[in-house]
């Protein structure tokens, strides 16, 4: 099995000089293709920071972070943009564009791909929304949808580009137990179908059952890699 995410001795801190606040300390972890990894830990343990480094959103300077064969440590903007385009991101809040319909929101992922025609984009996005059970809500705007439905739209948005990796940052935080579980179950089903790797950060213990592996991060240190 090949590792799609390979992190070795990653150190990261906020601030500088006397105010330096270490967040991640010698983090080493490999995540393999098709794996579903849940990262748990108390708030402030550096989970989200770790996720933003993997996702190419935050620049780290020490250690090694290889994502999809790209070294992200001291990388330039082009490398990060390239990595971001191959990653599906699911946020704590749904972060949908409120002026766009569900279908148009999902299409935003595909508009970066020039090889498709507009009709192909719409078809693929609609198909994806049907797969998350929103086939009858294609033309609804986010504020006409429930919280669970919105999160499902954002799952569709993350998966529609057939990414190699999906990064999810507390995707169930704003959902009740049932819709939270529904959302991650859909995520798991679709990821398994397409051999997508998932790294999911959460402290929602109700969804641990979907994971292939659970790692715990505490004070910037991985306890059971």
């Amino acid at each position: 099995m090949s590792a799609v995410i390979n992190v070795h001795d990653l150190n990261f801190s906020f601030g500088s000089g006397a105010l330096t606040q270490p967040v991640l300390k010698n983090v080493t972890i490999s995540i393999y293709k098709g794996e579903i990894v849940l990262m748990t830990g108390p708030s402030g343990s550096g989970k989200t920071t770790f996720l933003t480094i993997i996702g190419g959103l935050r620049q780290a300077y020490h250690g090694s972070v290889v994502v999809l064969d790209q070294q992200l440590i001291n990388s330039n903007e082009q490398v990060k943009v390239k990595v971001r385009q191959q990653i599906g991101y699911i946020f704590q809040q749904h972060n949908l564009l409120k002026s766009l319909t569900a279908l148009q929101n999902v299409c935003m992922t595909l508009e970066m791909q020039n090889s498709m025609t507009e009709q192909q984009r719409l078809d693929r996005a609609a198909e994806m929304l049907r797969a998350v059970g929103l086939g009858d809500r294609l033309n609804y705007k986010p504020d006409q949808l429930s919280a669970g439905q919105r999160q499902r739209v954002s799952i569709a948005r993350a998966l529609v580009g057939r990414p190699q990796i999906v990064l999810a940052d507390e995707p169930t935080a704003s959902l009740d137990k049932q819709s939270g579980h529904e959302a991650v179950a859909i995520l798991k089903r679709l990821a398994k179908e397409s051999q997508t790797t998932i790294l999911l950060v959460t402290h929602d213990y109700r969804i641990l059952d979907i994971a292939d592996r659970v790692v715990e991060l505490e004070d910037g240190v991985i306890k059971n890699a």
Partner: protein, 389 residues
Amino acid sequence: MNITAWFYFPARLAWRQLIFDRTKLIAATCGVLFACMLVFMQLGFRDSLYASAASAPIKLNGDLFLVHKQSEAMWRSIPFKRSELMRALGNPAVAEVYSLYLALAPFKNIETQVKRTLMVYGFDPDSMIFDIEDIQNKRIELRLKDTVLFDEYSRPEFGPVRPLLEAGRNGTEINDYKVIITGLFRLGISFAADGNVVTSDLNFMRIFPERSLSNIDVGVIRLHPGSSAKQTQAELSGQLNEFVNILTYEELLQHEKDYWANMAPIGFIFGFGTVMGLVVGLVIVYQILFTDITNHRNEFATLKAMGYEHGYFIRVVFASAFFLALLGFIPGYVLSVGLYHLAESQIFMPMPMTFSKVITVFTFILSMCAMAGFLAIHKLKAANPADMF
């Protein structure tokens, strides 16, 4: 990356975001519309001023014109000796010369007796000095003593002259001298004179006893067919005294316009009004774009996390600016056309909506919005996904 994706997608996103918040869109459109109308009106008045300044010289029928070097404009000309004009006849290219006498004088409203100043033109009725049919047809009547023709396009304060003439009431006073209006013509007013009257050179001297036939205001020179105005102008400037300016037809028109554009502060005032309109529009559009970016910061950061590049968001902002320019310009243009008609009917000044003016104003508005977009894009830096999540 193909061009459709490069521009169409960000433009479409900008459009969808604009139409999502209708209230704000209307407010933004009103801002651009306001700026647009202000600029249209300022330019309209300015061009109308220049056009009206040339309304009399544009109808003059000649190839070269003599004016005193000290004359700022025709309406406040300095007379010079007619002998100077006669000397021009010495040039073989010159066919005929005619004298034009000008003066501002009070004209008594036939009905109300109120006096108001207008411009009086005096010339030999046979000279065909004005290229206006109604004047040329009346040359026999103009030869009679104390007869004048009245400009129908004069301001209404001079009285309803046409119905009065039809009713047989044709006597009035110019410069306290009794005259008879024997007909009407159409010329148009300017900022210098609210009305016009033409008469024969001899009648002109009767109305203005202090003037003399040998002191003329403008000398009109006609050349033999086939002669070059430019060349004759150059020859004459060597032959005539240096206190006269020899102008071609185009130079005379420019000379009259330049007076209002440069000598009088009026050209500056309208230019200043135009700039102020654009500045107000700029500030409004900038505010709209700026708050738009602030409100969409989270969404932009999300798109950035999905792999959209910084340039995409710059294009979104400029596309929004472009749409605002277009949305404000179209109603602004329609309303300005209405206001131009209103102005024409109320102040009797020509206010044509020319194609070049439409293009000019649209370019101004577009640059204004682009400038606002340029100022607003620095706010995009706030949309940093790492700080967002």
